[in-house]
């Protein structure tokens, strides 16, 4: 009888591989990159949903439970996830390795001199929205590879192979995206929030202005009037905004100018059918190229 049970257990578990590393990602962008590199050898969960503003996440005990079980937590850094320390403290996980994926990024919008709240929600170490430049996604994936290999050296070859496949696919897509964006190159675009500097630099778009008067500061009627003048003066075709912001001000501006409003998800699962980083970039690029 004992032999039968052992044989049954062997047959049941033979060929089944259990994930080796448990990861929590602060955003769904990171979640997808970890899945691409870690494959089935990593269990990964995320905190901020794709349709949520990652600047503001309520500290929920259920997030603490996710972090409590994790070996590694990846974050965007640069002050985007100011809520993360409270969650980590609440998780009580003393073995957690926190990895800031911004360490290898060439930071933009790093303020010079004294900063204060009169300038809006300024990030003192640089603009944290770097994942919108696909070259930075490659840097993030490399950081993830290094961290997974460090945590689980036995599976380095597996992770490395996944990483190379992902990079190769991303390189192909970058060529396509650059080609599609060539018609937008050099043209001014109005953005809602100051989160597009990396994207604009990569694809050669001119940032025509922002709907927010200062980063994180709600739109005002006087600033809307300035934006309307800018749009008319520079013949700007569209306003691009993340889908978690209210479109009240952009609609007011659009009604005075006939400018188009493009709402996009800036993270996987932020909209239907956007299930990974490449889907997300495809969607954004298509929206730009269709509306120019």
């Amino acid at each position: 009888m004992k032999k039968i049970v052992l044989l049954f257990a062997f047959l049941l578990f033979e060929g089944t591989s259990f994930p080796d590393v448990k990861v929590v990602a602060t955003t769904t962008v990171i979640y997808d990159l970890v899945k691409q590199v870690g494959g089935e050898k990593v269990t990964v969960d995320y905190l901020c949903r794709g349709d949520q503003d990652p600047h503001f996440l309520e500290v929920l005990p259920s997030y603490m439970l996710k972090i409590r079980k994790a070996d590694i937590m990846f974050e965007i850094g640069l002050g985007l996830e100011l809520w993360a320390p409270q969650l980590i403290d609440g998780s009580r996980n003393s073995n957690l390795k926190l990895i800031d994926l911004s360490s290898g990024i060439n930071k933009k919008d790093v303020p010079a001199g004294k900063i204060d709240a009169s300038q809006g929600d300024i990030h003192p170490y640089g603009n944290p929205h770097y994942w919108l430049d696909p070259n930075n996604a490659k840097i993030m994936a490399k950081e993830i590879l290094d961290a997974l290999a460090d945590a689980d050296a036995d599976n380095f070859n597996y992770y490395n192979s996944n990483y190379e496949k992902f990079i190769s696919r991303l390189d192909e897509k970058i060529k396509q995206w650059e080609s599609l964006m060539s018609k937008v190159k050099g043209k001014p675009v109005i953005f809602f929030h100051a989160s597009w500097v990396y994207f604009a630099d990569h694809f050669g778009i001119k940032i025509g202005g922002y709907v927010e008067p200062k980063p994180g500061i709600p739109p005002t009627p006087s600033h809307n009037a300035e934006v309307i003048n800018l749009i008319k003066k520079n013949n700007i075709k569209f306003i691009v905004m993340e889908n978690f912001y209210s479109d009240n001000a952009p609609r007011q501006i659009a009604s005075a100018t006939n400018v188009k409003i493009i709402k996009v998800a800036v993270a996987p699962f932020g909209m239907e059918k956007i299930n990974n980083y490449i889907d997300m970039m495809d969607y954004i690029i298509n929206k730009f190229s269709e509306n120019i």
Partner: protein, 397 residues
Amino acid sequence: MNSIRVFIIISLITFSQLINGQSNVNPNISAIGTFNINTNFTKGSDQFGKLNFETPDLELFVDGYLNPYSRAAMNIAFEEGKFNAEEIYAEVLRGLPLDLQIKAGKYLAGFGKINTVHPHAWPFLNRPLFHQVYFGEEGFNDIGFDVSFILPVEAVYSSIDIGIYKGDAIGKTEAPDPESEESIQELRGINPVTVGRFSMFYDLSDYSNLEIGLSGAYGLHAKANLNLPGDSAAATSLKNLYFTYGGLDFKFKYKPDGYTSFTIQGETLLNNRSVIRDNGIGINIEKQASEKITTFGSFIYCDYQFLKQFSIGAMYDFTYGIIGDAPGTNTLSNDDKNTTTGISGFAGFYPVEETLALRVGIQHLFFNYKDGRSRDGATEVMLQMLFSLGPHKAHQF
């Protein structure tokens, strides 16, 4: 005077850091200022309809990590023209067996949910009535230590907190001078109280969450010399008077996006305690006896946030005891005859996150005396401006 010196020294240290620019190793420093203007429409009040400009309150928060395992915080408050160490505590956050967390110092005790939240973060403007009756004007803020444990349940976050406290907050509800430590010590000696809370948090969906908590507190609330026979010549008997508080709390929040949310939250406290009561005429004076009373208080409110910058809400409050009574052996937490009911409405405007808030609230209190006495209700209207300078933490559910 000493507290003023302490405050000046802390201020000089912290503001010199602000002036020099905060480095990464400095603690977080933030200040919250509150300015209230109120008026009342209570019949017979000499302040009826007059604007009362309160002295602005200030809370200076300093907090940061002590080392990889622990952090410390302090909150120096300037309220009603006086400086006061509202909170000073340290916490061991990680590295302990069973992932325990330990907190020690002076802080807001974990009885119920709302007590651990600073009043400036409440959507309503007035402290719940039963807090005022059973914990005092400042809530259950006490000196002690607390051990917290997360239950090893995968699906639901559930935690148990058990703490031992000096008990000053309990004494404040019946000591003749609630602000005097001597008065409280004379009332109840040095007898710690035990406080515990069990809470469970559920994600009902991606957009809605529910937390339910059960709290308890037990200890000695007063010592009394009773004249049992009612004989002025007889020796009195020393009697220890104990209390037990039981609490039930819940919070539900629906937040479909970053611009709107709906919260409904409520708490109930059940008070069972021994009290001193007159027991008829004895030989030449009133006989005294101790007896058990059971009273309760509760509140429920809802708050609707719309357009990100605006919120509006309403609250219903009930408690045994008459709000505004002086502490005593028959009043507030020892009162099992009279009750106060409150209804409130409140609205807030938050132009840019929580850096600045303008809030308005109205509260009407109904007083009900068991002996048939009648008293007009009290109506208060309050306008509040609140600012938050410096880093502020993410919202805790």
